[in-house]
């Protein structure tokens, strides 16, 4: 009898080429996604006089620097235009497929990969972006890397890694209406802490996770990095296979059926051992918003922000004081009393079709009290939303309906939150200055952002859903 294995063990073993005495393993990379920010990796490769090893396993996407408005006129900012042009040049030179600015499949890399069927169960996927953990939703081993590692992958299609510890996060029970994957993820991060999963590969399991759609699982795995996890994953099942069937780059016909058979073995053995176990009850999870400047600052919407005067730990007290000062919130304020200046719906965390539907369900027939931007996760998501009439709901509510890209999540394409303004955002990081210097970010689900829009303050979405079809 071989020892019981976790999903992490299985995925790792399938990709290990050699293992050194010191524990480092050389892993095979099945997919390497690159974007405009990958220019440092291409430069390193060229500086060595080397070329790409496996162009057919490498895919480029323009997302970080692309404008979300007035694309027809090209990119006005010369520095941003250069970033996109450099990606086009590197892709052409290395003969890799590029989903460029004008490609109908363009979008955020972590939306496009799954949407095109490039992301599949059992693959090892890397990208020079920490939210690569998203692809683990399919039962892939997916993680973010830096430029030197990306250069190594370009040149060799392999990567040296040390096997992480294994962590299981189990969420059982049925989430109540109005509670989404984002709430579950923020609740997990608040529980384990922003570095609680450091050095670990997380496997999400339990009935509440099984109930999630692929969009929900992607949101969850996307946020693994905000708990410090090396990667996050969900074992593939019928939901996964049905999402993938017929996608352009997924296996077709009999090949697909054979693949499903292979993918069905990608799960943890019932008696497999994990280095760490965490469990949550889904029924107890309320809509969550963050109040501070790290993603583990999530609280249920009916709570008050902390009061540093009541904090016994000196370091924690100092953090609370500084975070509240940056966020411009008085100690002990009720979250629902915090007025907002704008909203953003977008990013690799929450800009898939289901996210847009859940925001639109709240916004339909209502008007936003603050300005806001809705940037769909990809051009196909945008087209689908327009077919469903969601764009009209956003526009009628007074929000901007824009093109697909990373946009206001990282604020480097020109979409930023002005200094001092407070944004209710579906993104992944409430770090100081993340959405622009001096910007104040509150993270929450798309439905909760919609609730903040129509009330003008942080608000519980649940009463706003009464009598509405979800």
């Amino acid at each position: 009898m071989s020892e019981p294995q976790t999903l992490t063990d299985r995925l790792w073993a399938a990709h290990e080429i050699v293992r050194r005495e010191d524990g480092a393993a050389l892993l095979w990379v099945d997919r390497h996604y690159v974007h405009e920010g990958s220019f440092n990796a291409f430069s390193q490769m060229k500086a060595r006089g080397r070329s790409i090893a496996e162009p057919e396993l490498t895919f480029g996407v323009a997302d970080h620097y692309v404008p979300t408005r007035n694309r027809a006129g090209g990119i006005a900012d010369p520095e941003l235009a250069t970033m996109v042009r450099n990606l086009e040049g590197n892709a052409a030179e290395s003969q890799i497929t590029l989903f460029g600015l004008r490609d109908p499949r363009q979008g955020i890399v972590h939306v496009v990969g799954p949407e095109q069927g490039l992301t599949l169960p059992g693959l090892l996927i890397v990208c020079g972006d920490s939210h690569t953990s998203t692809h683990g939703a399919f039962g892939a081993y997916a993680f973010g890397i830096g430029a030197s590692e990306a250069a190594h992958v370009l040149m060799t299609q392999t990567l040296w890694q040390k096997k992480p510890k294994r962590m299981r996060v189990c969420v059982d029970g049925r989430a109540t209406p109005g509670i989404g994957a984002k709430d579950i993820a923020l609740a997990i991060i608040a529980r384990v802490g922003a570095d609680g999963a450091q050095g670990h590969a997380i496997e999400f399991c339990g009935s509440a996770i099984r109930e999630l759609t692929m969009e929900g699982r992607m949101t969850l795995c996307n946020l693994s990095i905000e708990a410090g996890g090396r990667c996050g994953m969900v074992a593939p099942d019928a939901t996964t296979f049905s999402y993938l069937k017929g996608r352009p780059y997924a296996p077709q016909g009999a090949d697909f059926d054979a693949a499903v058979e292979a993918w069905s073995s990608l799960k943890s053995d019932p008696d497999a051992a994990f280095d760490r176990d965490v469990s949550l009850g889904a029924t107890e999870i309320a809509p969550i918003v963050t109040w501070g400047t790290t993603p583990d600052d999530g609280l249920p919407i009916d709570a008050c922000v902390p009061d540093p005067a009541r904090e016994p730990d000196a370091a924690r007290k100092k953090y609370i004081e500084e975070a509240l000062a940056y966020m411009g919130i008085a100690p002990g304020t009720k979250l629902t009393d915090v007025a907002i200046d704008r909203i953003f719906i977008g990013s690799c965390t929450n800009a898939r079709i289901e996210d847009l539907r859940s925001a639109a369900a709240v916004l339909a027939g209502r008007v936003s009290k603050v300005p806001g931007l809705v940037s769909p996760g990809s051009s196909p998501v945008k087209r689908q939303a327009e077919q469903e009439g969601l764009d009209r709901i956003f526009k009628d509510a007074g929000l901007d309906w824009a093109d697909a890209g990373c946009s206001m999540c990282v604020g480097i394409n020109g979409d930023i939150v002005p200094a001092g303004e407070r944004c209710a955002s579906t993104t992944n990081r409430n770090f100081r200055g993340r959405q622009g210097r001096g910007a104040r970010t509150h993270l929450m689900s798309p439905a909760m952002v919609a609730a903040a829009a129509v009330t003008g303050h942080l608000a519980d979405v649940r009463p706003l859903l009464a009598g509405r079809k979800l």
């Binding site: 480092a24 050389l26 920010g37 830096g146 430029a147 250069a151 570095d195 100081r432």
Partner: protein, 208 residues
């Protein structure tokens, strides 16, 4: 890559936890090539106010610590974005070692590829080291990777680092060259894997 064996210099304390890579290098500088001088914009929004003036209370602006070679940081240093440019900014500013109770995983990987030592100490030792250099900024600190020790005044602290990273830093190993020596194993894997997992190879790009 330059080897890291031993380093002596001034050590700048930055004790707050969760200093993420957005703080180390704000995203607006990610389009800069390294040669443009990322060291000058290290911790830009913490070091300078919006008018561009130095914030006197930020430790790296201290007359001694602006020339520090070592940073003594808080827990979860370098968390968040995978931007390797954050490591370039630290290294190019002249800081070649960061001491902290823990590091973001991707940051730590990026650091070792660039010769930046990430030395892990307990919360207690990090606080004690920060207090010692705060009391006497002129005090030199020596970090010895072979011995895995940090010497500050008459105190010696041990630190931990992943043995793989330690080997790489001590030897100045180049990953790509090392990988080349496994070329035969890679080819063999590729050939057998194609049979084992035929579905892992994407079909030719579909036609529009």
């Amino acid at each position: 890559m330059e080897k890291f064996v031993r380093l002596t210099g001034k050590a700048c304390p930055l004790p707050q936890p969760n200093v993420n890579t957005d703080q180390i290098l704000p995203a607006r500088y990610l389009k800069w090539p390294r040669a443009r001088g990322l060291g000058a914009v290290l911790f830009q929004d913490l070091r300078f106010d919006t008018a561009g003036s130095e914030r006197a209370d930020f430790p790296l602006n201290h007359p001694v610590w602006r020339h520090a070679k070592i940073l003594i940081a808080g827990r979860n240093f370098g968390s968040g974005s995978s931007r390797e440019n954050a490591v370039y900014a630290i290294y190019d500013h002249g800081l070649h070692c960061v001491i902290a109770p823990s590091f973001g995983d991707i940051f730590a990987q990026n650091a070792v590829k660039n010769g930046l030592l990430t030395a892990i100490v307990s919360e207690h030792d990090a606080a004690e080291l920060a207090a010692a250099v705060t009391a006497d900024p002129q005090r030199d600190v020596t970090v010895d990777l072979e011995q895995q020790t940090i010497v500050c005044g008459n105190r010696t602290y041990g630190f931990s680092i992943d043995p793989v990273s330690r080997n790489q830093l001590l030897n100045g190993w180049d990953d790509v060259e090392l990988t080349e020596s496994y070329r035969a194993a890679i080819s063999a894997y590729r050939a057998s894997d194609g049979l084992r997992r035929p579905w892992a190879i994407p079909p030719k790009p579909p036609h529009d």
